[in-house]
């Protein structure tokens, strides 16, 4: 029997989601292809994968999950929906099927509490962590977090579950640091923001947090230019921080800063490795090769790295063979990508280090900030620590509520190996 590790890839490459999706899945697949090409797989086990088009639609996502579940010799060993909606729809199913679900930079935030959500891994960082780093970043720009007192920040958000994620944390942060928060929702899809920006002009905020998605982002940047609001005073969520968000806005985007759990740029050894082992052999997934190294592409590479590292970790315990979902879960839960490992991977500075534990499925929560200079994203900050205390508190509270609702008894991590 061939030694193959199957990975199901629910993807979206049509419609409004295509722009981001093609980059992300490109990076992810290229990384795995590179591992196969360069290393002959992980520990001698080849990686195989199959895409399944979800159109970013919950129902289609569930179908993909079910379709991919039994594929490969050990079944699908990890599911990464890249859609918060699909994540929610699968919360119960992955438990029953024993398949770990990894949600990097989206999904259900309180699932970071591994005691209640053993099968879910909202890794690297979550929306709540991100929101606190935004406040920290703005504070630093203002010359110290204490300078935030009396400042006014507009929270311009996509009027949806996604947009509302940042709300509670920011409100708490506003209380903690004494700034005032003005909430301006934008109706989906957000291609008209005249009224919001007139309000912003009236409010004259010190900063604008752009918690947008899709066309809402370039539209906001354009509208900011139109109202004369400085882009340098706008901080975006990571889903507003890719080339797809700034390029359409043209010059209007210059100066805009956005968060990221990975960074842009092709000048990392890991990207080089992909170029050498994959593109040189004409096996790359990207049709437009100039996009290798773009934000979404690199995000995809991060997905690949984490998946592969989990396999490696699990192989160390269970042996170099195709792993089941259960074994993979162990791998994720014991994932420890430290600075040294990052360096070995050629991803130093490319993504933050992270260590997953039984209780903490988030990892480091680190976020970096990049600024658009009109041509490309430039890194403008170091990895910023979230307000761990506040975020972890909220996560535990929320998870506890969920556990109660669902009648789940949280695991006792002290007892686990």
């Amino acid at each position: 029997q061939a030694k193959e590790q199957f990975i199901g890839l629910p993807s979206y490459r049509v419609g409004a989601y295509a722009a981001g999706g093609s980059g992300l899945y490109g990076g992810w697949i290229d990384y795995m292809a590179m591992i196969n090409e360069r290393d002959g797989g992980v520990g001698g086990v080849k990686l195989t994968w199959e895409e399944c088009e979800t159109e970013y639609n919950n129902a289609r996502g569930v179908e993909c999950y079910e379709r991919l579940k039994k594929k490969g010799s050990t079944g699908n060993s990890v599911f990464q929906p890249v859609s918060t909606g699909i994540t929610y729809s699968l919360l119960d199913k992955v438990v029953a099927d024993k398949i770990p679900m990894v949600t990097i930079g989206y999904g259900r935030t309180d699932a970071a509490d591994g005691r209640v959500f053993p099968w879910v891994f909202p890794m690297i960082t979550t929306y709540w962590s991100q929101a606190t780093t935004m406040v920290k970043y703005i504070g630093a720009k203002e010359g110290g977090i204490d300078k935030l007192k009396g400042k006014k920040i507009v929270y311009l958000y996509h009027d949806s579950a996604f947009g509302k994620e940042g709300l509670t944390v920011l409100e708490k942060q506003a209380q903690k640091y004494g700034f005032s928060l003005v909430l301006l929702p934008v109706a989906h899809p957000g291609n008209e923001q005249q009224s919001q920006w007139l309000r912003i002009r009236q409010e004259k905020p010190d900063w604008v947090i752009l918690w947008g998605w899709g066309v809402m982002n370039p539209t906001a940047l354009k509208a900011a230019a139109k109202t004369g609001y400085p882009r340098e005073k706008m901080v975006g969520v990571w889903w507003a921080g890719a080339e797809e968000d700034t390029v359409p806005a043209g010059d209007a985007a210059k100066g805009f800063t956005a968060a990221g759990f990975s960074v842009a740029g092709p000048n990392y050894p890991v990207i080089k490795a992909i170029q050498d082992n994959v593109y040189k052999k004409n096996k790359g997934n990207m049709e437009d090769k100039t996009r290798v190294g773009s934000v979404n592409y690199n995000r995809g590479v991060v997905h690949g790295i984490i998946t592969v590292e989990a396999i490696r970790t699990a192989q160390a315990k269970f042996g170099k063979k195709p792993l089941s979902g259960d074994e993979m879960r162990w791998g994720f839960e014991h994932l420890d990508i430290d600075a040294k490992r990052l360096k070995d991977l050629g991803a130093e500075g490319f993504m933050p280090n992270l260590k997953i534990t039984c209780a903490d499925h988030e990892g480091s929560g680190l976020v970096k900030y990049q600024q658009w200079d009109g041509k490309q994203w430039k890194i403008v900050s170091d990895w910023i620590e979230p307000d761990r205390e506040m975020v972890r508190g909220m996560i535990e509270e929320s998870a506890a509520k969920y556990a109660k609702e669902k009648g789940i008894t949280p695991r006792d991590c002290a007892k686990e190996g």
């Binding site: 419609g15 199959e50 919950n58 129902a59 079910e66 929610y88 709300l167 049709e287 929320s398």
Partner: protein, 355 residues
């Protein structure tokens, strides 16, 4: 030659007014039900039950609802997904807020809530017609989704607006396994489909069709237009509401308001049109078509074409083929798959003679 009415003489009107007056149809239906209830859960894999048949049944129910409104009563609506949302959120809240609420009652409650909302948004139909009405129903679509997102109470103040459906339990039995869920959904859908069939072949149904075909004449005959249209909105929304509740409880488990988007409304409308306007069977055929086609296309593309075509091309190819097939079917038979089936039967009746 196989499909003949000849020799089947009906001596009473009762016999002629059965749901399926022709014996072959009757037998066929019984067979179909037997297969659906006994063989399908025993033979088909979990994937088929969970990922295909359950959503197929739920969408059939929604399409049935819309078909009552659009197909039978002639009121074009683009808001069915919103009524599904009302049903889902209402059932959730019934379960949440009333202790010991039986699940079936919660579903009915969800349907009734949707029906009430449906009546409210149906009121304009008394004056507004055709595409004007269709666009106006978008008001319902967007308003309801907005309201569910905005008012935390509906989602029990969950930070993301997502609700997690409670477990389904009837008389102490918990519906957890795919087979159990499938059978529950199937039973509900079969019962509701039967009720719908009865309605459309009785005087309410005739009143709906009369209003659809020519409302001025209908009124002259003595049909109360307002009553008839609002009833259509109510019944239709009820069906959509129950479908929404099942969508949340028996299929996805968790839903968010945005999940009930305009896209979903369009999908349901497609099912109605492709399946056959004004046909109960059409709702099922249409749902099967619209649920299965994209999956089939994706499977084909992923299995056989994934290496050959660039990924973005193959994904877009699916979209093109999907749209193209819809157009193709509309051209082949504007009255839908149900009509195609009927014509097939007519041909069978004549067979082996061409006419």
């Amino acid at each position: 030659m196989f499909y003949r009415e000849a020799g089947q003489f009906k001596t009473t009107y009762a016999a002629d007014q059965q749901i399926f007056p022709i014996r072959q149809d009757r037998l066929g239906m019984l067979l179909l039900l037997a297969v659906a209830f006994f063989f399908v859960p025993a033979l088909l894999s979990e994937y088929w039950l969970k990922a295909i048949l359950i959503p197929f049944l739920i969408f059939s129910l929604a399409a049935l609802g819309l078909n009552i409104l659009t197909g039978y009563a002639g009121q074009l609506s683009l808001g069915s997904a919103a009524f599904m949302a009302v049903g889902a959120f209402a059932s959730y809240n019934f379960m949440l807020r009333i202790d010991g609420m039986p699940i079936l009652l919660a579903f009915i409650g969800g349907g009734v809530a949707a029906a009430l909302v449906g009546i409210a948004f149906g009121l304009p139909s008394l004056r507004i017609k055709g595409f004007y009405l269709a666009v106006a129903t978008l008001a319902a679509q967007f308003f309801i989704v907005w309201l569910l997102t905005k008012v935390g109470w509906f989602s029990d103040y969950s930070s993301s607006g997502v609700i997690t459906a409670q477990d389904m339990e009837i008389l102490g039995y918990r519906f957890v396994s795919p087979e159990a869920k499938y059978l529950l959904v199937l039973s509900i859908v079969v019962v509701l489909a039967l009720l719908a069939k009865n309605m459309v072949r009785s005087s309410v149904g005739r009143a709906w069709m009369a209003v659809r075909d020519m409302d001025v004449a209908a009124e002259v005959i003595g049909i109360r237009i307002m009553h008839t249209k609002l009833l259509a909105f109510a019944v239709s929304s009820f069906y959509c509401g129950v479908a929404g509740a099942l969508y949340a409880f028996a299929y996805l488990g968790t839903v968010e308001p945005e999940g009930f988007s305009l896209d979903l409304s369009f999908k349901i409308l497609f099912m109605v049109i492709i399946g056959g306007v004004g046909s109960i069977a059409g709702a099922f055929l249409g749902a099967a078509f619209i649920v299965l086609l994209p999956i089939a296309l994706d499977v084909v593309v992923q299995q056989w074409l994934s290496g050959l075509l660039a990924p973005s091309v193959s994904s877009n190819l699916q979209l093109i083929v999907f749209g193209g097939l819809i157009i193709f079917f509309l051209i082949v038979e504007p009255h839908g798959l149900a009509r195609l089936w009927q014509i097939g039967k007519e041909k069978l009746r004549l067979w082996p003679f061409p006419h």
